[in-house]
Structure formats: structure tokens, C-alpha cells
Amino acid sequence: MKTSVFASMLGIALVSQACTGLDSQVFNQASADKFPASADELNSIVGSAYGQLRFAINAVRTCNEAASDEMVVPTRGPDWFDDGRWQKFARHDFSSVTPPQINDSWNYAYTGIAQTNLYLSYLNASTLTIPGKATTVAELRTLRAWYYYVLCDFFGRVPIITESSPAGSVAQSERKDVAAFIESELKAALPDLRADITTETYGRMTQGAAQALLAKLYINSEVYTGTARWQDCITACDAVTKLGYKLNSDFFALFATNNQSNGANVENIIVGVFDKNYAGGNNLTLETLHPTFKAKYSLGADSPWNGYATYADFYGTFANNDVRKNQWLQGVQTDKNGSPIIYNDAVTGETNKTLNFTPKINSIEKAAQNEGVRLIKYQVQSNLPGNSADNDWAILRYADVLLLKAEASLRLGNTANALASLNPVRVRAGLAAVTTLTLDEVLAERGRELTWEGWRRSDLIRFGKWEGNWTTKSENFTTPFELVSRDPSRRVFPIPATQLSSNPLLRQNPGY
């Protein structure tokens, strides 16, 4: 017995000598030297580049809206202080550290850029024969152009990194050079992009997407480069029209839970595709609704967070017969059975209160739970397994393109063309066509049409209204407040501190 124990241990000892190497195997992940190995696998990694696109719904949208005149996130007693980030947005109190969504936006864009760069170099290097490779390359370049667009708009001067950038940290380019890079990339990609508006191209970068982005770039050209390019904007808008995009007759269908398949794709040009199972992250309902709506709509896991609201005077710009006014929840709210919702307000100490959304808010530091009207533009989805809804996020819509053309035409003095572009948007909303037009009215129409869609900040800057006085209006707040700064330097965000630390060549934007 002893001998056999001994012998078997020796056996183990001998066997062990066969494997003294350090090459551990990788099982559930793939080492980069072994993957991708087929055209399908390559497509699957290129596909993940699109996974990043939809997250524009988070930090990028918040930065564009929470500091504007159409969204406010007041602190509500114990909730929504969050290190002061929401108040900082409202006060234009930006620093290289807070609000953190500024850095998140930077990361959003550069994550997308890094991915597209990597996939572009993979595609360039790959010897696999992939059908439609040229189109894939063009899509990736368009996608990358979108991320640079975000950076150009937010930060102005940013480093341009491509798949062929040399080693080492990259210095910032001037804002006009970033804009020029975006333009040249989009133009280079255009010929190879698909032009069809079909299920196959849904959620992907198409010629329509590239032209719409060009239109955005040109309308802001004066802000970005100092040189206006209104006519180029009109040309790009017309190119979108020529591709067959049109206004969807039903405004709310654009934001429905089935907006990927209900025909909204004739208008939703660039979309971030969400899905409750496969592509999570659409929490729009939760951000704005009151907790009691969980029962009303049989929502998924969380009770809504009761945060985002709008300013009373912005709400006031909607006429009563404007279809789009229905996107707001105002006044007494009812439950499933039509009875008023009763709740207890932890902020005011009031109990058994009827839930009544009032436009006016006490103050940015302390708002009762019912203050501020709420947005339900995106269809509220019931019976979810979790917090993520199915509605796809419309990043860039044809209605926006029409309004861009109207604005550019008006700025060039062509009121007739401007009216021809703007009126269809008004008419769809159930409003009468107008016969005269001012720039202020264009901005107001943009506000009503594109509420909370993530364009307001750049619109306000372009129209010279970014340093507006909505925070000081007594109709908005019982206790109004002032912006921390009305300096034009606030028209770009500060370069985040984290980024300054990892790239020694970065220089902070002036004024920060």
C-alpha cells in the first residue's frame, strides 16, 4: 500500500514536469492574435462599433439639454443633488472636473473613435474576403465623423486620431481643422455608403446620415470656423430630401416603442437602436416621471426617478392646438383607474398630496416632487423585465434637416424657401402655416419640434442665446438664480481633467 501511494505520487510528479510552461489558455474571451478568424467574426466586431452610437442618449444629450432653456433638473430634497452636477449645468458652472458628464461625453466620442480606428485598421489589414467591404469602411468613417462632430461641438479643439496616427500623444487641432476633417471624411465616405431607406440600412450610417451630418456641420460653420456656409447647408439638406426622406405623418410614431418598424425610418435618419433585451440603456421614462407612475404603467424594475423637467416659459411656447404639446405632462395626474394619484412629498413634508405637475418651480436647490412639467415624448413602455425600453433614440431627424434648411435660407434672405421648409413641420404639428418668419421664430420652432433631442445647446449658441436669462425669470422660479458666467468662453466645455492628465499635449480651453 505504501509503495503504491509512493508510486502514484511519483507519477504525479513526473506528469507535472511535462507542463512547466506558463502558457495559460484563454477560454471565454478571445486573444487578439486569434480573432477574428472569419468574415462573420469580422462583421461582428465591426458591428460593435454601432453599439457605442446609441449612448449619445446619455451624457451627450444631458450636456446639450440640462444647461439649456428646455431642461432643468432641480434638487428635490434628498434627491438629485448628486454632487451639485445638475445645479452646475443650470448655472453654466462648468469645470474640468464637474459636471462629470462632460468627461463622459469625451469618453463617449473617443471610445467610438478608438473602436472605429481599430476596426478600420483591421479591415485594411485583413486578407479575408468580405462582401461589401468598401461600404463597411465608409460606414465606419461616417460613424467616426459623428464622434468628431460631438467633440468639435463640445470642446472645439481636440486631437484628431485616425487609424494611421503615429505613436505618441496627439496634440489638439484647431476647431476649424476638426470641422474640415469631419467634412472631408463625410465627403470621402459618401460614394460608398448605401442610399436606400430599408430594414437593412436601419440603424446604420447611410448617405442620408452623411448628408444630414454635413448639413449640421455647415449650419454651425460660423461658430466652428468663423466662416458661414449657409448655402452648403442648403445643398446638403436638399441631398437628404433627394434620397427620399420625408416627414412621418404621425409625430409620436417617431418615438414609439416600435419605431424601428412602424415606418418612422423615413424620417429618423440616424438612430441609436435600443432593445429591452439586446441593447439596453433607454431609461428616458425613468428620468422624468414620478415614482407613482410605476404602478400606472406597470413599468419594469425601478420606480421612476422624478428628475428631468422643463422651464415654465419654455412650456409656454407650445400653443394649445400644437400636437406636440401632448408630449408634456402637466396638471393633476391620474392613475390606471382615472383617479388622481396621491403621494407623500418628502421635500415639503406634505402627505396625501394629489400629484399635480406645476410649471413653476420653487428653486433649483429645492423643488417639490410635483414641480416642473414632464416629457413623455417617447412612448412609455409597460411590462418590461427591467429598466430598458425598446424605443430607438432618434439622433438626427428629417424634420431637423427641414428646419436647418429653413434657417439657412432665412439667413441668406430667402424667406420663401425658408417658409417652404418650415411650414410642413408646423402643419404636421397641427399648426397653421406661417407667412412671415424671423430667426427667433425658427429657434422657437426648433425648440418645440426637437425638445430634449440633444441639439438645444448648439442651437442656442448659434442663435446667440446661450447666455440667455431663463434662469432669472420669476415665472420659472420662485427663487430665481443667475448664470455663473455669461462669458463666451462657456460656449465650449472645458477639457476634462482626466484627459489633461493622460495626454500631456492637451491644453485647456481659454477661460477655464
Binding site: 504525479i12 484563454v26 460593435s48 464637474t98
Partner: protein
Amino acid sequence: MSKRFTEPRWWLVYVGCSQLLTLPLCSLAAPILDDGSDAVRLKIAHSRIVPTTMGRADQLARLALQTATGARVKPVERTITGRVTDDLGAGLPGVSIVVKGSQRGSTTDAEGNYKLVVADGATTLTFSFVGYLAQDVAIGNRSTVDVTMKPDTKSLDEVVVVGYGTQKKADVTGATATVTQKEFNAGVINNPLQSVQGKVAGLVIQAPNSDPTNNRPAIRLRGTSSLSANSEPLIVIDGVAGANLNSVTPEDIERVDVLKDASAAAIYGSRGANGVIVVTTKRGKSGQTQIEYNGYVGVQNVTKNPDVLTADEFRQKAQELGVRAIDGGASTDWFKAMEQTAVSHNHSVGISGGSDKFTYRGSLVYLNQPGVVKNSGYDRLNARLNLVQKAFNDRLEIQLLASQQFANKKFVDYNAFRAATKMNPTYPVYNADGSFFQLASPQIEEENPVARISQITNDAKEKQTLVNGKISLEVLKGLKVGVNASLSDFNYFSGYFVPSTFRGYANTGKSLGNRFQREVIDKLIESTVSYNATFGKSSLNVLAGHTYQKLSSEEMFAENRDFPDIFGYNNLEAGNPLPDGGNTRVVRSNKYEAILVGLLGRVNYSYDEKYLLTANIRRDGSSRFGANNRWGVFPSLSIGWRISQEPFLKNSSVVNDLKIRLGYGVTGNQDGIGDYASRLIFSQNGFYPTNGGFRSAYAFTQNANPDLKWETSAMTNLGFDFALFNNRVQGSLEFYNKDTRDLLFNYPLSIGQKYGSENLTAVVGSVLANVGQVNNRGVELSLTYQVIDKGKFNWQTTLNVAHNRNKIVSLTNEFYKYNTANPTTYGGIGSGQGGFAGTFPIVLQEGYPIGQFYTARFLRFDERGNYVYEDNGGGGRDPGGKDRTYLGSSQPFMTLGWNNNFQYGNFDLNFFFRGSLGQKALNGPYLLYANPGNFPGNNVLAYSFQSGIGQGVASQLSSLWIEDASFIRLDNFRLGYRVPGLTRYVRNPQVYVSGQNLFVITNYRGIDPELRTGSSRDVYGGPGDNSVNLSPGIDPVSFYPRTRSFVLGVSVAF
């Protein structure tokens, strides 16, 4: 005879192939073995019965006589009888009695009686028994020899279990400490290391609460020296490095040795940087079969709940303030409604015995420890069998050590305690119909916590098997070869079930179930060869070895929803798709592995037992590291001088022992990083839309770092061991300085940035890299003073005190520049919805310790009850940004343990204080729930109304909530009574009462000042939570209370 050596030859084949062993060793051993006729010579060389005092010629002569002359003249014999008792007069069984100078011997029976036939010329008997001083007793003309054995208090201390062997304590040149079973903490203890908590200077063992399912305390030895990697010492159980602590129970442990400094830990090379804790389990003892039983019943209660308003106070306060408050009509103490008195019981049965060739010890230990929170608890069964077989005149020793643990855990969702803090106390627990009361829109912070802990099932089963075989053969005198092989299999299987009837936070009205399984297999094989020799006054011990270890983990997870509640989590496939056909099924699986290889060598040399030297070297390789840096070399050197052996002190009446030790060594750390941490990895990363559907997308999820390597710690240790005044005062004093370089740190990168020596492109926002340096330096003092030693009455007091200073020296290197102007902060408050997203109170900054608080300094409240902050660049308006400043550290200035042991007759009394002084803590519950603005919407801490915070002023993080968390705790108390008059039937019958956590002296306002020190090590060293690791000292708002326990125990042996 020669046939017997066939196997050793095989062995040598293996040894010869080992990467480490060099030809000279093989050639040294082989020629002798090849010649079978040399058997006699071998026997001579290895015989253990030869007294070492004899000259070699004498030995040969005697042996020749014994072995060669088969028939000898039968000598005259006589019989001697007697009784051996312990110092208290009880018969001692199993005592070995040997006629000095012969092999003849006997052992005592159950009553301590013995009978021995001795040769007429025999003059002396040697009585020996483990734990007692051996005695030589002259026989004279007596036929009855009764002996009283004296306990040997020092006997176990005399040897230190160092890595890959033992060493006489007197010869040790590194900083070590030993705790033997006798000194273990008593009470309801579910983790072996709790038994030694506070007993070793510089070893900090902290469980952040009393949750019996969370039985893995955080362990720190001489401070924290890692950022992203693990800072816990390496656990070695019976020679198995990295073994799971669950494979032993306190009852099975003989001793715990702590290797503190680099020279002691260097033999574990790349894994020794945080020190080593060596656990040795009990072995059987030759002699009579012994059955031991130890059992206790323990009663545990919550020491303190947060001081929230009671229902009456709640109503009264609302009236007083003139506000309307919801009155649910009930009076509920939500904490009490969740809590219970927990009665634990523990039974341990050990059977041991054996002959001088074969010993065994088997044990079964069962612990049932319900939680003080309802519907939670822990129970486990440990079985262990330790077998030791000796052969070939004790030259061959085979050990088989096998253990198995089965454990069940029922978890508590700590969020329930957060809800209990905030929930209105006038709400009832149950509705009139017996169902759980719930709010219309429950929140994680405001729901019925009793429903959460009662309705949701959250449990797990754990199995831990550890089979360990050892074999050692003394090939030549002093030359030993050994193999240590072990297989460990850890299996974790959990289940989670939310019934459709659950109406609390995050309910969907549908059932939800999931199961998770994890298996970790750890294979280890080590071979060593050692050589011992004495030349004149020199004594030499050389050790060389090779180790190979492979760790593999496999995991599987499945989840589904909407099936009948009766299935629980046992029928996941029964779930239904969503109404619109959407899928609710989730499946996941993965597997990963790591390989560690090491070559080790050690030389111990001493001259005249005065001058001591130890040198270690280890070369280690790990698959976790980058292709450029997979191997590392870890040397150490230490020297000692036993001054008390010098002539001028040898006969001193004051100084009985004095030794100076000086050591320097380099050790490494790699625990707690991912198995593939150095590689560029693609993973499934969501889905991408295509053609109206979705397909799996893959993306880079980890940056490569081909340069990734060990953290290396260089430690210098100066130590003094002393025994004074007739050994009444004993102790040691240590000074150390430890520089840890190339810290493993998840360095933030911007995506797309080029990084590292190969200018790679960052694909995700961080890379695990070797950046920065941390320094720990400190002093440790251990003192034992025998205050009174007067026969019946003894008083021994032991004090250990440690001071450690931790400092981040640098976070920057050639490739990575840390932004010291805008340093990274860590440590969430733990309240996703409390308005504290993104609030991180602890900063990682050069020149400051790990756990440095960094937030605004609170000055006062203004007339409106708003906070006024010190202006540090933000005008006092930017408490989360520019106005932050450095506000103390969560690391203690000093930790201490003070033990007192009294003996009077049959009574013994032991009490033990443990303390930690000078650390700061962030009082999370006060920060969030001491705000009058939360009242009456939520319940609040009573302190709210004295806080000075204005109505409607949001809670804000600042120095106001950073408190001194120094404490001294009466950690353990034990009163034992040795029941006399029963010794005829049982041995060592004892009953005792003990208490744990009897009181705490502290100024801290929270429920307990002892908070987490960092993330505890995952079983088998998976990546820990980086953020938790870097944010010690935060009192969480989702918590589990601390308990006080009283135990009544009994121990007997048969």
C-alpha cells in the same frame, strides 16, 4: 534491502529532471543508492535511536553489536509501574516512557498508569508528552515511579513553521510570530483567522460586520501596499500556498505562524509581498487513542441599531414642527422587525492516535450559526483526516491530509437596513390580510425591509475539498527529498428567487430566478530537497525546490422569469416569454486559468548558535504577466546575532535571551489581478442591429500590457527578541521599512491614446500597469509579562502594539503620468438614489496614504442652515470640486491587542482588548440620514434635529461627517473551570463561558467604528473591487449590524 530502493531511484529520475536540481545533487545521492550492499551503512547513518552525544566510533560499535549479533544473552529484567499526572493531579494518558539509551518503552493508559519491563542495568526513564517538559527520572531501586509532568509553555514556540519547513525559533532571523491553539479567541467563530484576530502585532483582521455568511475578513499585515492588486497576506495551509481558509476550522488548527518581513516571506517569492500566514493543522500523536469533544452554544444579539425616531417620536416630532406626517397607524421598529436573537451551536469531535510509525487524526466539526437577521445564516460541516506514516526507520514519511467542507449560506440583502433606516415607523409590517405592507411606489431606500428579507430567497452552497499528499525521504543523513502535491476543488452554487408576490422595490409582478455556479480547481505540485549538516560549531541547512501550480475557474449563470412561484429557482426553463415575444432568458458561462511556476532556494547557516544567517532566492513565473516580464527573481538575506550566547551575557541574571536580527528582502505580489490581465482581449460586447434583428457584437474589452509584471516590495527589518528576568518578560521589537514599487494599478487612459513601451493604442479607458510606489514603515512591539507565578495563581499579560505609516510615494513613471492636480477619487457612499451619484470621498494622491479623505472642510452653518465651507479655490461654493482639501486618513496610527490570562486553581480567566487608534471614518448613515429635510417624508436619525442643517438643505459630503473612529473593544472574555473529580472518566473536562464584543469605547457616532479596510480577497485571488480596495473607512448606508455574543462551552476528552 536493495529492492526497497527501487522507488527512490524513480524519485531521483524526477528530481533529476526538475529544472532546479543540479547534477551534483543527483550524483551525490545516486552512487550510494545504486549500491544496495551499503544498506547497513545507510542504516547507521540514519538511525534515530543513537544519542547524538555519542562519538561516531561508539555508534558504529553499538550498532554493529545490535544488528550483527542476532542472539544475545537475555539480560535480567524487572518491572516498574507508576502513574503520570499533570500539574493538577489528573492522570495523563498517552505519555511516552522510554528507558534511556534503549528502544524499550511504554505509554500510559487512560488513567495515566503505566507498566514497563526494564533491563536490570537501566538507570533512567525519560517521560515525554507533547505540551509538557520531558523529564529524566532516575529509577534507583524503586519499582514504582510516579511522575508529575510540567506543562511546557514554550514548547510550541520553540519551532517556527517557515515556508517549506520548520526552524528553531532561536535560529530564526526573520520577523515571525506564532499563535497556538491555546491562545485562540473563543466564541462563535466561523473563520479560522478570527481566532487570531488582534493577537499579532501588525496583523489587522477586520470583518466589517457580523454577517455569518460574510466570513472572509479583510486581512492586512503591516499596512496596505497595493492599489489594484490584493493587499492580503498569502495563506498557506499545511504547505499548500493559496489554499482556501474554508478548508480548516479553528478546532483543527494547531498553530498559525505569521511571516511578517521580506526575509521570512521571501521563500514565497512572487506571492510573499504582503506577508504569509502559515496554518498548520493538528496531527495525531502516537500513544493511546484519544477522543476529544468540544461544543458550545452561543447567543448572539445586535449591539446597536441606528438611532432613528421611534413611531411615537415620529408623531411627536411632526406635531412639534407643525408638519403633517403620514400616520400608518402602527408602531414599528423596522430593525427589530428584521432581527432576532441567534442561537448558534458548534460541535467538534476529533479522534486521534497511532503508533510511533503511524498516526492519525480525524475530525468532524459542525457549526450552525443563524444570523441575527431573520431568514439568514450559515452552517457548515468540516471533515478532516490527517494521516502520517513513517517507514524505513523513519527515513520515509508519507502524509495524507484530506479535508472537506460543506457549507450553506442564506444571505441578507444589506439594502434592507437602508430601507429600515428611512421607512416611516408608523407603517405596519403586515396588512390586515397578513400580506406584507408595501408602499404604492417602493424605492430601494423606502420599502418594507421585512418583505425583502422574507420573500426573496438568496442562498448558496459551498463545497471545498482539499487533498494534500506529502512524501519525504531522508536519502542520506541530512539529505531529504520531498514532494508535496495537492488538489483543491472549490464549488459554489447559488440561487436567487423573487416570487411574483413580491411588491417591494424593483418588482415586476413576475417571478424571477437565477442560478450561478463556480468551480475553482487548484493543482499544486512541489518538490524540495534539503540538506542538513553540522561541522564543528557550524550548522548548515540548504533547501532547494520547484513548484508548479495551476488554477482554473469555470462559471455558469442562468436566469429566467415568469414561472409559477412554487418552482422557486428550481425550474428555470418553465419561464414565459414577454407578452410581445421578448426574451427574458439569460445564460452566461466562462472559464479562465493561471499558471504559476517557481524555483526556490534557501540557506540557513549558524555558527556556534550565535551568529545566524538566512539567504533565500526564488525565481517565479506567472502566466498572468506580459510576455516581456513573466519571470522575476526575489532574493533575501538576513542575519542574526544571539548576544545572550556571548560569554559576557551567558550567565546574566537579567538577560536570559537576546537576539538582534537584520534582514532585507525583495518579494512580489500578483494576487487579485485578472488571469489574462496582460493581454489584448476581445469579448462579446452587447449586440448590434442588423437586418431588423440583432447579432452578438464583439469588442476590445481590455488593453494589452506586454510589460505587465509583479509588484515588488523591498523590505528591511530590524528586530530584537528578548527574554528578561528569568524569562518573566519576553518579547520582540521590530522596525521595518517596506517600499513597494511597480504597483499594479488600473491606470486611467484616454481611449485611442498611445501608451506603454510599445506605443500601443488604448482600446478601453484603463490599463493594468506597473506604476508608482508605496511606502510602509512601522514599529511593532510584543511583550509578555508573567506578572504572578505562584503555584496556584498565575497572571500573564501580553501586549502587542503596532504603528504603521502608509504613504503613496509616487503614481507616475516613464510611461504613465498621474495627474496630481486632479487626482482620482474613490469610494461611493453606497446610495444610488440618495442624490450622491459620483460622490467619492477618498483620493489617491502622491504624498498621502491610501484611504486619504478629500472633501470640503465644513466650517459652520449659516443662519439659514446652509453649509459654509472653507474656501480652497472654489470660493467655498464648490465642495465637490475646487474646495476639496485633505482631511485625515482612514488608516490607524496604532493598533493594539492586550491579553490577560489568570489562573487560579481550577479556574482560568482570560480577557482580551483590541484597539485601533487614530483613524478617521466617513459616517455614511449620518451624512445621508441625519438631515431634517428628509422628515417627515422619511424617518431620520434623531441627530437630524440637532445637526443644524436647515430644512430643505440637501445632504452634502464634507468634513462634518468625517469622524474619529478610534476604538478599544473588549473583544473577548473567557472564564473556564476545570471540573475536578471526573478524571477517572474523562480527561481535561472543562466548562467555560465566553463573550465576544462586550463593549466598545469610542467617540464614533455610527453603530460601530470598525469598518472595512479594503476589499477582502476573493477565493483564489480573482480580481477584487478596485474602488473598495482604495476606499477603506467608509461606513456604508447598506449595512449589516454587529453582534455581541455569549457562549457556554464544554470540552472533554476520552
